[in-house]
């Protein structure tokens, strides 16, 4: 009997190849998308899944806002006062220059850590002893791929690497590459002892909080975190006289690090779990759309197969056997799609780094969990897609189906309409979502920044003594329009410092950004001066220090009219400064966060960065020339530059990743929906051939025939829109509320969404409708 099911399934596939093709294509895309999204979501939701992750916490700093960085002073004291804990301090550097046999490399993810880190994070050690590898000064541990890159097949252990032209470090261990989902990515790991002398002062100053200074701790097994939390205020007070009402050390579970969006100064920008649940939702919508296609096409075809069902029943088949047969056919189609889907997913995953900025190894597809998930998808799809049509088809009464009356018994038509409405609604929600995300991305990167960012490159100045020479060379370059030196372009997050303003009642430290900029900074970046003057050059020995401040700062002082702020005094880190200018707020951080107070002043010794505005036309050539003169000036260093707009975009890597995923998978969902629509219209055209013939004989013009087919879909699209518009609005409004600054959802977005829906539907049904409408009526009537 089973052989018979399979046999007839294959013959049906061959016979109705166009339906089969639409079904298999839809299911393949659906299954592949579901698999990819599952892996993407799993990758994100299992961030930092170290073996002991449940017991690992990050010690953070919460004064005015939440800071994932904390002073190096904390770890040694904690180790002394909480002997039951393993505590490790980590200094993360985005990149470092290393030299091997005079060959220089810029490497990302350079981390300095003490000997305790390997006891907290379970790295997989290929060589070296985790207990001692980071114990001594000048010891360095490499990841496997870095070791391969430097030494090929030679044993890296004991080899010497020069770091930042400062230390020679001996390789004391090699660990397996870390997966991409780690909050502290590591490529090279230098022992903390190597730099202990350099950070001597940081070790004593609780307020010295460097970017990338993290402290992790590991609880003993079955040890409640409350036991530590309860002792923290006393610990803070005893060691640094900190008042727990002003400062707290929140102990953040490692598993929350990737998701707690209060902390933005992580290495990897935290993201919302909701986003990934939403992506998983998209996966579900995609598979539902594919199943809807299946149900629609199967019930449409049921009419054609009614006779077969009747004959089988007359010959003694009972309902169970027929349901078995139809489910068998669905199984064959689903299994074919599953195989194709897995192949498609693995091809896609090999390029995932390009697509999603996340490395996802296709070999994950063979993991038991993933295989169980694949089996789950298969069974779910077989049941969702197969059961209903099987029940409908097996319910035909033999007498009716043999008389070709089966069609009357397919009550599926109303259901099919419902399903088509669902598909349209899904597409429209996804279209609305994609447009809103696209607008928000544009808003992030391009709008309302408060400064110019086009054709500007940033690079560092390794030696301040050569600044003037560099400046001269840059302004002499005909490809360079303007040059400014500072401690960073407006989008580079800068030093924060405490400030008070006793004249305005601010006596306790508030926080402000402090930027050191030269006299060209305002012009190059186009900062808008609202009152007073821009920052001008100042001799080091000037006693009166003047600064420009932003709007947020004067609002804190209670001043609304910028002109009234000129000449007022504030105290920054104990130094009295005079406000000489007020600048319009600009976006110095990601738009996740509200803008902060900012002070801009002239301080030549603190200019570490050069920003150059390039003339259009010869950008590559100019950068090449800058590279040459820079490298000649600083022969021990590697020239690295970054376009400012790329830097701004880097705030939103996470969003960009999500946006790419949403855009891509929304398209897939829409394509699958179109396949179903195409199948339905194909069926409707075939069903109504005779009607079209009669209408044409009676004089109906082409346009009225097209209208006849289209009318129904117009109504369905409108009904779907009534559901999709409020739903899309609600979902996306919630998403936008994650950002301090965001676009507002206007009616235009919905107009575009419905217009796109109509356009997609029109394109999808155009061919079949025209084909049906243009058939010679004699032919269509004869075929009856």
């Amino acid at each position: 009997m089973f052989r018979n099911y399979i046999l007839i399934a294959f013959r049906n596939i061959r016979r109705n190849w166009s339906y089969t093709f639409l079904n298999i294509l839809g299911l393949t895309l659906g299954i592949a998308s579901c698999l990819i999204l599952f892996l993407v979501v799993r990758n994100e939701l299992t961030f930092d899944n170290y073996k002991k992750a449940d017991r690992i916490y990050r010690v953070t700093w919460n004064a005015i806002d939440f800071n994932s960085n904390i002073s190096l002073a904390v770890a040694p004291k904690m180790r002394a006062e909480f002997p039951e804990l393993q505590v490790s301090q980590v200094m993360y550097n985005r990149e470092a220059m290393v030299k091997i046999h005079n060959q220089r490399f810029k490497e990302k993810d350079f981390v300095i850590a003490d000997e305790y880190l390997p006891q907290i994070f379970d790295f997989q050690w290929i060589s070296g002893d985790p207990k001692t590898a980071l114990k001594e000064p000048n010891a360095i541990v490499l990841t496997e791929s870095i070791a391969k890159k430097y030494y090929g097949n030679t044993d890296p252990m004991g080899q010497v690497i020069n770091v930042e032209n400062q230390f020679d470090a001996k390789v004391t261990g090699v660990i397996k590459d870390l997966p991409s989902n780690r909050s502290v990515p590591i490529q090279l790991l230098l022992s903390f002892e190597t730099i202990r002398n350099q950070v001597k002062e940081n070790l004593n100053n609780i307020y010295d909080i460097g970017g990338g200074f993290f402290t992790f701790m590991l609880l003993p097994e079955n040890y409640p975190i409350k036991n530590v939390q309860a002792r923290i205020p006393g610990f803070m007070h005893k060691n640094w006289n900190l008042n727990p009402k002003e400062v707290r050390f929140p102990l953040q579970p490692l598993k929350d690090v990737h998701f707690d969006q209060r902390y933005i100064n992580n290495v990897v920008t935290p993201t919302s779990r909701d986003t990934y649940y939403a992506l998983f939702g998209v996966a579900l919508l995609i598979i539902i759309t594919a199943c809807i296609n299946f149900v629609n096409l199967a019930t449409a075809q049921a009419i054609k197969r009614a006779k077969e069902v009747g004959v089988r029943k007359v010959l003694g088949a009972n309902r169970k056997q027929l349901i078995g047969q139809f489910l068998g056919e669905t199984t064959v189609l689903v299994l074919i799609s599953l195989v194709l889907g897995i192949v498609l997913a693995s091809v896609f995953l090999s390029g995932s780094e390009v697509w999603f900025n996340t490395k996802l190894d296709p070999s994950q597809l063979t993991q038991p969990v993933v295989m169980a998930y694949i089996a789950g998808i298969a069974i779910t799809v077989i049941l969702i897609a197969g059961l209903y049509p099987a029940f409908v088809q097996s319910a035909f009464q033999p007498v009716d189906s043999l008389k070709d009356k089966g069609a009357q018994f397919v009550k599926g038509f109303t259901l099919r309409k419902g399903l088509v409405i669902t598909q349209f609604a899904i597409s429209q929600v996804l279209i609305v979502g994609t447009i809103i995300v696209a607008n928000q991305m544009d808003f992030f990167e391009n709008q309302d920044l408060g400064f110019n960012k086009d054709a500007i490159v940033s690079f560092n100045i390794p030696n301040q003594a050569k600044m003037d020479v560099l400046h001269q060379q840059l302004v002499n370059n005909p490809g360079v329009e303007q040059v400014t030196f500072s401690n960073g372009a407006p989008s580079y997050n800068n030093n924060a410092s405490g400030f008070t303003a006793p004249d305005f009642g601010i006596t306790k430290d508030d926080v402000t950004e402090v930027r050191f900029v030269d006299e060209n900074y305002f012009d190059l970046f186009g900062l808008k001066v609202l009152a007073g003057q821009k920052v001008t050059a100042r001799a080091q020995k000037d006693t009166i220090i003047t600064v420009a401040v932003n709007e947020t700062l004067i609002h804190k002082l209670g001043i609304t009219d910028p002109a009234k702020a000129i000449g007022k005094h504030i105290i920054i880190n104990g130094t009295n400064v005079t406000i000489s200018g007020v600048v319009q707020d600009f976006q110095s951080e990601s738009k996740h966060k509200l803008r902060r107070s900012c002070v801009l002043g002239y301080n030549k010794p603190r200019f570490f960065m050069a920003d150059v505005k390039l003339r259009a036309g010869s950008i590559t050539k100019t950068i090449d020339q800058i590279n040459k003169s820079w490298s000649a000036l600083f022969p021990d260093n590697l020239f690295e530059y970054k376009f400012l707009d790329d830097h701004i975009a880097s705030f939103y890597i996470q969003e960009q990743k999500e946006y790419t995923a949403f855009k891509f998978f929304s398209c897939i969902a829409i394509i699958i929906g179109c396949l179903g629509l195409y199948g339905l219209i194909m069926f409707a055209a075939a069903q109504r051939t005779k009607e079209v013939g009669i209408r044409k004989v009676l004089g109906a013009p082409l346009i009225s025939i097209i209208g006849m087919f289209s009318k129904e879909f117009v109504v369905l699209i409108l009904i779907a829109f009534a559901v999709a518009a409020p739903l899309g609005y609600w979902v996306m409004n919630n998403w936008l509320n994650n950002y301090a600054y965001h676009i507002s959802i206007g009616p235009g977005i919905f107009v575009v969404a419905i217009a796109v829906s109509f356009a997609i539907a029109a394109i999808t049904i155009a061919y079949q409708t025209l084909k049906a409408a243009r058939v010679n009526p004699v032919k269509s009537l004869r075929s009856e």
Binding site: E308, V314, L402
Partner: protein, 225 residues
């Protein structure tokens, strides 16, 4: 074998009620060959459908082998049908996706006959119907006469006690039609009861008895001599 008493069947639409069978009573004995005749709409096919348990009566009694079957549920009817009744249709009703062999094999699959036994029985019956050489062809590759022979082969492969034939020669030329009638007669001579609906006086003469219907009632019975 079959005894129907006061059998009724109505077809209702919102406005009209049509009486298809009007308190019809008929007796068919085991081994009989009965032809049912009458003008279009007289209730012949309805009667045949009810006899074949493809449709429910609205009233009256239907005894099959002394068992009241008028109100059997679908499962019971399917069960009774597959073990006792074979059908032959005017339009053959072969499954296009299956070969001749597979079409004939189907009733045996549904009655759970083991594979080796199925092959034997299908080959036997194909041989008897002289269609063995076409066993691997699909229905659409056959002539009408050949298709009806396959349909008869399929109807008899389960050795049913009763064959219901609904205008079995309606779609055939006279030569192929005569062949089919010969086959049915032969089956009847070997003990199978046959009830055949027909418009053809010629075909009806192959039967033992002709029941003539009009407006859902028997108007005449002719015993063939």
């Amino acid at each position: 074998m079959i005894k129907i008493t006061d059998l009724e069947k109505f077809y209702r639409t919102e406005e009209v009620e049509t009486i298809a069978l009007n308190k019809l009573s008929i007796d068919v004995k085991k081994g009989e060959f009965v032809a049912i005749m009458g003008p279009s709409g007289c209730g012949k096919s309805t009667l045949l459908n009810i006899l074949g348990m493809l449709d429910d009566p609205d009233g009256g009694s239907y005894m099959f082998n002394s068992v009241e079957v008028a109100h059997f549920n679908e499962r019971k009817r399917a069960d009774l049908r597959k073990h006792n009744i074979g059908f032959v249709f005017q339009s053959f009703n072969l499954i296009d996706e299956l070969t001749v062999f597979e079409n004939v094999e189907l009733p045996l699959i549904y009655t759970g006959v083991p594979s080796s036994e199925r092959v034997k029985r299908v080959e036997e019956v194909l041989d008897k119907m002289q269609i063995m050489h076409r066993r691997n062809h699909y229905p659409q590759q056959l002539s009408g006469g050949q298709q009806q022979r396959v349909a008869i082969a399929r109807a008899v492969v389960n050795k049913p006690k009763l064959i219901l034939a609904d205008e079995p020669t309606g779609n055939l030329d006279s030569s192929n039609g005569n062949d089919v009638m010969e086959l049915l007669t032969d089956l009847n001579e070997h003990g199978t009861t046959i009830i055949m609906v027909t418009h053809s006086e010629h075909d009806a003469r192959y039967s033992h008895r002709i029941i003539r219907l009009l407006d859902g009632q028997t108007v005449m019975e002719n015993i063939m001599i």
